[in-house]
């Protein structure tokens, strides 16, 4: 390992470094100077520093596009246009999470909250830029630990602690599974770099140990992305966690987890894909994911129907969306990867928006049950309209981003094998399930637009920061849906330049 240029490494990791500095700055400022000030000002200042940090990181990546694989291709730190694009998406999601956090009052530990948010983002960014099982595990843990604490952050609320405990226990299990799967891989091949690992695996038959490794890895990531049957933590964690934390778990961590899941599957298990096509079944990881996907879509959508808490409803809908996104992983190709990333990123934006609205309602109306949304359109027209856009996008109504995401994902899934129509059976199932999903999304909109507010309902004054954030998110969902090319072209170019 001689000749390691630490300077080069630092250069490659500048965006992450910027964020770490921002996190430290938030801590220092909040605990040092601002300690005695009113919480409102501390919130604003900390949020400002966090946003500046994220913006600086994005700006840095924009100006210096890099293509490097640190340490002679060990995959420890891979920087290329694709990872940079995904990192930018993560940073944007972080910024919006910060914006919807400003006017909440679930905590007095302002500095710690924002610092943890930034550290979780750093974890995700490292996760995105690693092709090495060791590094993947380490960054996964950095992300997860930050998210566990963020879930528990509301100390006045018992539910928050319970949610965090559940999330932590399940997450710990998941980590164990992942580690086991990855160590089996190491045992099989003696490699920790995904690409070299795949090269060693190539040509060997699907031996039982590899099957166990695949299954263990899938289980581990299945927990992270909340796919059925590893979803049990999600509804409780989403409901109990402070709303902005839930938004972050549902958006940022989803994008990063899906990206790395796709990468591990596509790079690490090449040759062991198998096939999930109708009547052309072959064992491998694709059929395993197909089962998870079908289960997630079915359970997520059906259980969401009976929820009375909007946060739980969003949690089950997130499980369903994980099912749709798994389709993109299964396609394992350029189109599939592009459609997966487009879907994950736009889904992240939409979800933050939806949680943002829930957060406002929860702060002002005191709850997140469906009836708390009654007559919202008369009390807060702007955020109601935003919520309409988010819900319809989640349901997949054009011309919103959710629709194009689904469309692109589905064409990619069928297009794997046009002659036999690829995964058409699963796509047909997904489309049928999204017809079901319209029902519960409309239930939320029905409360907002159709039902009248109770006469004693408190007035809702939407804070400016939320208004701006939600307005921008709604606009983004609309623009990305109507002109998906804006992102798609960059995404395809980035994927092509990396070569999948």
């Amino acid at each position: 390992m001689s000749g390691v240029s630490y300077l080069e490494m630092l250069k490659l990791a500048i965006p992450e470094t910027i964020l770490v500095i921002a996190a430290l700055a938030v801590l220092a400022v909040d605990l040092g100077i601002m300690r005695a000030e009113a919480r409102q000002y501390r919130m604003i200042l900390s949020a400002l520093i966090s946003c500046v940090g994220c913006a600086a990181a994005i700006f840095w990546m924009f100006t210096t596009e890099q293509h490097a694989n640190f340490l002679n291709g060990s995959g420890m730190l891979v920087v290329d246009p694709l990872t940079q694009l995904v990192q930018q998406a993560l940073l944007v999601l972080t910024v919006f999470t910060v914006l919807i956090s400003i006017e909440t009052n679930f905590t007095d530990h302002v500095g710690e909250y924002f610092a943890l948010l930034l550290l979780a983002t750093v974890g995700m960014m490292f996760l995105v830029s690693s092709e090495n099982v060791l590094m993947i595990f380490v960054s996964l843990e950095l992300t997860s630990l930050s998210l566990y604490i963020l879930t528990a952050f509301n100390k006045q609320n018992v539910q928050s602690a319970e949610a965090a405990l559940k999330y932590f226990l399940f997450g710990g299990m998941a980590a164990a599974f992942t580690l086991f799967g990855l160590s089996l891989l190491y045992g099989l091949t003696g490699e920790i770099n995904l690409i070299q690992l795949a090269a060693k695996l190539k040509g060997t038959a699907l031996d039982p140990l590899l099957v166990v490794a695949i299954v263990m890895t899938v289980i581990g990531f299945g927990f992270k992305i909340a796919a059925v049957p590893f979803h049990l933590w999600a509804p409780d964690a989403y409901q109990g966690a402070p709303t902005p934390s839930a938004a972050f778990i549902a958006s940022g961590s989803k994008v990063a987890s899906f990206f790395i899941l796709a990468k591990v599957m596509m790079l690490g298990f090449t040759g062991a894909e198998g096939s999930g096509n109708w009547r052309h079944y072959e064992s491998g990881w694709v059929p395993v994911l197909a089962i998870l996907a079908a289960g997630s879509m079915l359970l997520g959508n059906l259980v969401a129907i009976v929820q009375s808490s909007v946060k739980r409803l969003l949690a089950y809908s997130a499980i369903a969306h994980a099912g749709y996104m798994l389709l993109g992983v299964m396609v394992h190709g350029e189109q599939g990867f592009a459609s997966l990333l487009y879907y994950a990123a736009t889904y992240g934006l939409t979800t933050i928006g939806a949680f943002g609205v829930v957060s406002v309602v929860q702060e002002k109306a005191g709850g997140d049950s469906l009836s708390d949304f009654a007559g919202l359109s008369r009390r807060a027209p702007l955020i109601s309209f935003c919520m309409m856009i988010f819900m319809l996008s989640l349901a997949g109504i054009p011309p919103l981003a959710g629709f194009f995401g689904k469309f692109y994902l589905f064409t990619a899934a069928i297009g794997t094998d046009p002659k036999n129509l690829g995964l058409l059976w699963l796509v047909a199932f997904a489309i049928a399930m999204s017809a079901v999903s319209l029902y519960y999304y409309l239930q939320v909109l029905k409360q907002i637009y159709v039902v009248d507010a109770p006469s004693n309902a408190p007035a809702i004054r939407t804070p400016l920061s939320s208004k701006v954030a939600l307005g921008l998110l709604a606009l983004g969902v609309l623009v990305l849906g109507a002109a998906p090319n804006l992102v798609l072209e960059r995404l395809l170019a980035a994927i092509k330049s990396v070569g999948y």
Partner: protein
Amino acid sequence: MLAWTIYISFLGVLVLMLLPKGNASAARWVALLTAVAGFLIALAGIVAQLQKPLELRAQIETVTHIAWIPSLGIELHLAADGISLTLVLLTGIAAVVGILFSWNIEHRAKEFFAFYLALIGGVYGVFLSFDLFLLFVFYELAIIPKYFLIAIWGSTRKEYGAMKLALYSFVGSAMVLIGIVAAFVVAGSKTMSLLELAKYPFPEHFQYWAFPLVFVGFAILAGLWPFHTWAPTGHVAAPTAASMLLAGVVMKLGAYGCLRVAMTLFPLGLVAWRNEVALLAVIGIVYGAMVALVQKDFKFVIGYSSVSHMGFVLLGLVTLNEIGLSGAVLQMFSHGIIAGLLFAVVGRMVYDRTHTRELSALEGMNLAKAMPFAAMTFVVASVASMGLPGFSGFVAELQVLIGAWQAFPTFAVLAGVGILVGVAYTLRVLQKAFFGEPANPLTPSLSPSKGERVADRPGEGQHEREPISIPERIGAVILIATSLVIGLYPRLLLDLIVPSFSSPLFEGLRKGGLF
């Protein structure tokens, strides 16, 4: 130019959203002006087309054609042929008249008209799209406003009706989506252009399952039996203008999709399934009419009659001869006008003033004397609906029947039975609702008896005496006149419709020797 029908509708939505709160009258006028502008543009399009010599009318006139999502070959391709133009004109008329009949809406008027115009914009979009992706976008865009229009401003079991309608539509469009995504991939994932895909020879086994999937998916919205049950419930729950649009225009979206997408893309599938489709259509005609015969609610009668009339459209489509096909398109137009008129009378003129739609309750009111204008309008509308010569319905149904006679004689006879039952239920409802004498002399009558003014009678609210307003009169006259003009001089539309069937779009059908 025609593309502006779409843009201007959404522009209207935008203006409405920016209007200050609570100004119902401004909202009304904005909506009306937008709708009138849309109508005028449509009219200008028709006039321009009519000035062309007949042989040139087969061409599909492109309005807008720019790349949208190049990596998938999706384009913003708006274009029109005679069929599109006919339906765009229908939309224009229905939009204007619908607003005239919702002139009295005060409750959240701004939002009402915003949803209304969004729906109209979506409908225009579907009729003008020649890119499948774009067509689907507009198609879905029309579902959501319908839900809100019914759920917020509707009556009887409005939330149930609205949800049922939204879910049926969405299930239908999900089926369509599966079909078109599969077609897109099979054809090489390079283009979504309807014209290009219509040229592509899809394998027969693929067409065999894709055709019914897409056709039925669209036909759900057209009210195909047995998937029609959303229609009567939805119509009854909807506010007047929305049920006018629903029956008048939205159901046509379904039939239009069947013709434009399912039939042109999968001609071999059509051959394989046409008898089954014709059977369902005929069952719809007869069943709808029979059920309409026994309804107790005035609006349900009209709701089921829509199912029956839409059966003619679907039957006409699968006759696959020129006369049947053009009859189907003409019937789409004609039913749009007549159903609009019927719903206007029932929903706005009668229900808003008597607060009941129970035929037995209306029977005692002797509405013919109390509301002569409404009664007169309804007489004309029912005459048109029964298909008497001189009105558009006659020409349309006659053509469909002739076409059906050539294709499937047995079904034609059955459809004829449907017409007879249609006469029966129309006369029954006409008699009961307007000319029924009070069975019990003690039942208060709305018409003043000798020596008594209505105002003297206790318990009669203001609304009963609210006269038929000017906007309503104008609206009714527009619809009646349209039906008459087309009925007396059907060539006006047929000259647009018939040449369209020789366009390259129908190449596949013609090649198969289907017509």
